[in-house]
C-alpha cells in the first residue's frame, strides 16, 4: 500500500504554494485601474526623460542660472525645514501631550495651510509680513527689516506651507510612543524638559526624520506661496519651480532640463532616506 500513498503525496508536495495560486484570481476590475493608475503616474516622468535634450545636457546644466536656482532651492528648503523643526516639534509635543482647552481647534488651525491653496497662503503672508502688513510695517520701521521679495521671504513662505507636514508626522509619532517611558524617566528623577530631551526625542527620532523629509520635499517644490510673497528674482528668490515655470514660456528645453534636475534631486533624497527612516516595503 506504500506505492499508492506515494503517488497521492507527491503531487500535493509539488503543487504550487497557495500564495502563487491566488495571483491568478486578481479581479480585472481591480487590476485594470491599478495598471492605469501606475501608467498615469509614470508616463509624465517618462515623457520628461524622452524629451530631454541629452546631447546638450552637460552644457545646459552648467549654465549659471541653473546652478544658482538649484543652490537657492536647496538652501531655502533646508532653512525652511530647520525653522519647521524648531517651531513644529514643540508644537507637535504640545498637541500630543498636553490636554489644554481648545486643543482640537489648534490642531485644525495647524492643518489649514495643508488645504489652503498656496497662492492664498502667499497673499495672507503679504498681509501680515508685507511692508504695509500688520507685523511687516513694524519690522520695517523698527529694524529696517523687510521679508517680502527676499530670500528670507522664500524661507518663510516655504515653511508656512510645509510645517503642517512636519507637525502631523511628529504628533503621530509622539502619540504612538509609549508614555510609560516618560513615566519611568520621572521615577528616576527627570523633570519634564530632561525627559523631553533625553527620552522623548530619541524615541520619536524616526518620526521626526520622516516628518522632516516630507517637509523638505514639500518646501523644495513650493511654488504658489513663494511667487506671491517673495516674487521671482533670479539669484534671490527664484527657486527651481519658479525657474521651470519661467523657462517654459521662452525655452522649452531649458524647462525640461531644470525639471529633470529637480526630479533627480528629490528622488535621490527620498531614496537615500527611505530605507533608513521611512520604512521600506
Amino acid at each position: 500500500m506504500s506505492r499508492p500513498d506515494l503517488v497521492t503525496v507527491t503531487p500535493a508536495r509539488s503543487a504550487p504554494p497557495p500564495q502563487s495560486r491566488r495571483t491568478g484570481r486578481i479581479p480585472v476590475a481591480l487590476l485594470l485601474p491599478a495598471a492605469l493608475g501606475l501608467v498615469f503616474l509614470v508616463l509624465p516622468l517618462a515623457g520628461l526623460l524622452i524629451r530631454t535634450p541629452w546631447s546638450t545636457l552637460p552644457q545646459r546644466l552648467t549654465e549659471p542660472g541653473v546652478l544658482t536656482a538649484l543652490r537657492l532651492s536647496v538652501q531655502a528648503a533646508t532653512l525652511a525645514t530647520l525653522l519647521c523643526l524648531v517651531l513644529g516639534v514643540p508644537l507637535a509635543w504640545l498637541l500630543a501631550r498636553i490636554d489644554f482647552p481648545g486643543r482640537r481647534l489648534v490642531r485644525a488651525l495647524v492643518t489649514v495651510p495643508l488645504v489652503l491653496p498656496p497662492v492664498v497662503g502667499g497673499v495672507a503672508l503679504l498681509l501680515v509680513f508685507g511692508r504695509r502688513g500688520i507685523l511687516g510695517g513694524w519690522l520695517d520701521s523698527a529694524f529696517g527689516f523687510t521679508l517680502p521679495f527676499t530670500t528670507a521671504g522664500v524661507v518663510l513662505a516655504e515653511a508656512f506651507v510645509a510645517m503642517p507636514f512636519l507637525v502631523i508626522a511628529v504628533e503621530g509619532a509622539l502619540r504612538g510612543a509609549d508614555v510609560r517611558y516618560e513615566e519611568a524617566a520621572a521615577t528616576l528623577g527627570a523633570g519634564r524638559w530632561t525627559t523631553f530631551t533625553h527620552v522623548t526625542l530619541p524615541l520619536v527620532a524616526p518620526g521626526i526624520a520622516a516628518g522632516a523629509v516630507l517637509c523638505w520635499a514639500r518646501a523644495l517644490g513650493e511654488f504658489g506661496a513663494t511667487i506671491t510673497f517673495a516674487g521671482n528674482f533670479p539669484g534671490r528668490t527664484q527657486t527651481m519651480p519658479l525657474a521651470v515655470y519661467l523657462a517654459l514660456e521662452t525655452d522649452l528645453e531649458a524647462a525640461i532640463v531644470l525639471s529633470l534636475v529637480l526630479l533627480t534631486v528629490s528622488v535621490a533624497i527620498l531614496a537615500s532616506l527611505r530605507d533608513r527612516w521611512l520604512g521600506s516595503s
Partner: protein, 377 residues
C-alpha cells in the same frame, strides 16, 4: 497603637499595624475613580518587604501609581522617610521626579536608545552626579547584579532575565527610600523566573529602604516578602505574615490563592454548621461565626458511603483537571469543595463530570478560626 512620635501630624497607624517601630513609609492611600475606590492603609519599615496581593482590578496598580506620584491621592496621606509627599487635605503634592523612589516596571521600560550602563546611570545623572561618576556608580550596580559584561549592550540585545536585572539596578542606583516592584517576574519564563527570583531575594535583603512588591503570584510573595497585604476591590481583606495568611485564609480569593477549601459556618464546640446546611466535626473547639479551612488533599472520595466517618456527604463531580502529580476534582453538593486524588485512586473511582460520589474529611484535617476577627498579622 499610636502614631509614630517621630512624624508629628501623621495620622495614627491603622489598627493591626504589626510593629511599633518607625515606618519609612506611612500612608493611607485613598483614590476615588468613578465607581472604584481604593482605600489602603500601608506602613512599611526600613528593610521590610511587603507584598501587595490581589486579583486583577483590585487596585494594586492604582496603589503603586499613587505611591510613585503618577496618580494623585483624592484622600488620605502619604509620607516617606519623614517627608509628606501627598496630602490632599493639606494641599501637599510632590511630583514623581522629586520623590525618593525607585520603580521596577512590569515590562521594565528600559530606554531602548541607551546602553544598559547608561540606563542605570540615568538616575544618578539626574541626582547631579557628573557623567563619569554616574557611570561609575552604574557600573558598580551592574556588577552587583552580575551584568558587568553586558554594560555596553542595548536593551534589545538583553535576555528577559538580564533586562529584569538591569531594571532592578536602575531602580536601586538612585538609592530610593521606597522600592516599588510591579509584577517583577511576570514577564519571565518559568526557568528564568526561578533564578531571577532567587537573585531578587538577595538584592531585596540588601536594600536598606522599604520595598513594596505588587504581584498576583503567591510564590513570589511567599519567597520575597516579609508580610502580605491582600486587597480586593480596593480594600484590605487580609494582612499579616506569610504563615498566618497561608494557613488561615479569610476570603475565597485568598483560599484559592493558597489552595485551600474555605467555608463559613457557625461553631458550637466541636461541631460547625456550614452555610450549605452540612454539619462538620472539627478538631478545634470554637463558638460563634467561624471559618473552616481544609486542603484538597484532605478530602477523600469514596464510591459508597464510608463507614465510621462523621464528616461525609454526597457530592457531584463538576470538573476534573490535572494538578501537579494528582487529579483535582471539583465537587458540588451541600458545599462546593475541591479534592485531590492520586492517579491510582482515580483509576478505581473513574471520576467524570456528573458522577456522584461520597466526599469525606477527617476532623483533624480541618482548621477552624473566628470569622469576625480584624484582619491582622
Amino acid at each position: 497603637m499610636t502614631g509614630d512620635p517621630n512624624c508629628p501630624g501623621v495620622d495614627p497607624s491603622p489598627p493591626g499595624d504589626p510593629s511599633p517601630g518607625p515606618a519609612v513609609l506611612d500612608a493611607h492611600l485613598v483614590v476615588d475613580r468613578g465607581t472604584f475606590r481604593l482605600d489602603l492603609p500601608l506602613t512599611i519599615r526600613p528593610g521590610e518587604v511587603v507584598a501587595l496581593l490581589g486579583p486583577n482590578g483590585a487596585g494594586k496598580t492604582t496603589a503603586l501609581r499613587a505611591l510613585a506620584g503618577l496618580l494623585s491621592l483624592t484622600g488620605g496621606h502619604l509620607s516617606l522617610a519623614g517627608r509628606h509627599l501627598d496630602h490632599p487635605g493639606r494641599r501637599i503634592w510632590t511630583p514623581t521626579e522629586q520623590r525618593p523612589i525607585g520603580v521596577v516596571f512590569q515590562d521594565y521600560l528600559l530606554f531602548p536608545h541607551l546602553t544598559a550602563l547608561d540606563n542605570v546611570a540615568f538616575g544618578p545623572r539626574r541626582q547631579g552626579l557628573d557623567r563619569q561618576r554616574a557611570r561609575q556608580r552604574a557600573a558598580d550596580w551592574l556588577t552587583r547584579v552580575g551584568l558587568a559584561e553586558q554594560a555596553r549592550r542595548r536593551p534589545r540585545h538583553l535576555s528577559g532575565g538580564q533586562a529584569q536585572r538591569v531594571a532592578l539596578a536602575r531602580a536601586l542606583a538612585v538609592e530610593p527610600a521606597l522600592l516599588l516592584l510591579d509584577e517583577p517576574l511576570a514577564a519571565l519564563d518559568a526557568r528564568t523566573r526561578l533564578d531571577t527570583r532567587a537573585q531578587l531575594q538577595r538584592h531585596l535583603a540588601d536594600h536598606p529602604g522599604a520595598t513594596l512588591l505588587v504581584t498576583h503570584d503567591l510564590i513570589d510573595a511567599v519567597v520575597l516578602a516579609d508580610r502580605l497585604v491582600v486587597i480586593e476591590q480596593g480594600r484590605v481583606v487580609q494582612m499579616g505574615d506569610v504563615a498566618t495568611v497561608t494557613a488561615q485564609p479569610r476570603t475565597d480569593y485568598v483560599a484559592r490563592l493558597v489552595g485551600l477549601n474555605l467555608h463559613r459556618g457557625r461553631a458550637d464546640g466541636h461541631r460547625v454548621l456550614l452555610a450549605g446546611g452540612l454539619h462538620l466535626v472539627t478538631g478545634d473547639r470554637h463558638e460563634g461565626e467561624v471559618l473552616v479551612a481544609f486542603a484538597p488533599s484532605a478530602v477523600a472520595l469514596h464510591s459508597v458511603r464510608p463507614d465510621g466517618s462523621p464528616n461525609s456527604w454526597p457530592a457531584t463531580i463538576t470538573g476534573v483537571h490535572r494538578h501537579g502529580d494528582n487529579l483535582r476534582v471539583q465537587l458540588d453538593g451541600p458545599v462546593t469543595v475541591a479534592a485531590d486524588v492520586t492517579p491510582g485512586a482515580a483509576a478505581q473511582l473513574r471520576p467524570a463530570p456528573g458522577r456522584t460520589l461520597w466526599a469525606a474529611v477527617e476532623a483533624a484535617e480541618t482548621r477552624v478560626y473566628p470569622a469576625s476577627a480584624v484582619p491582622t498579622g
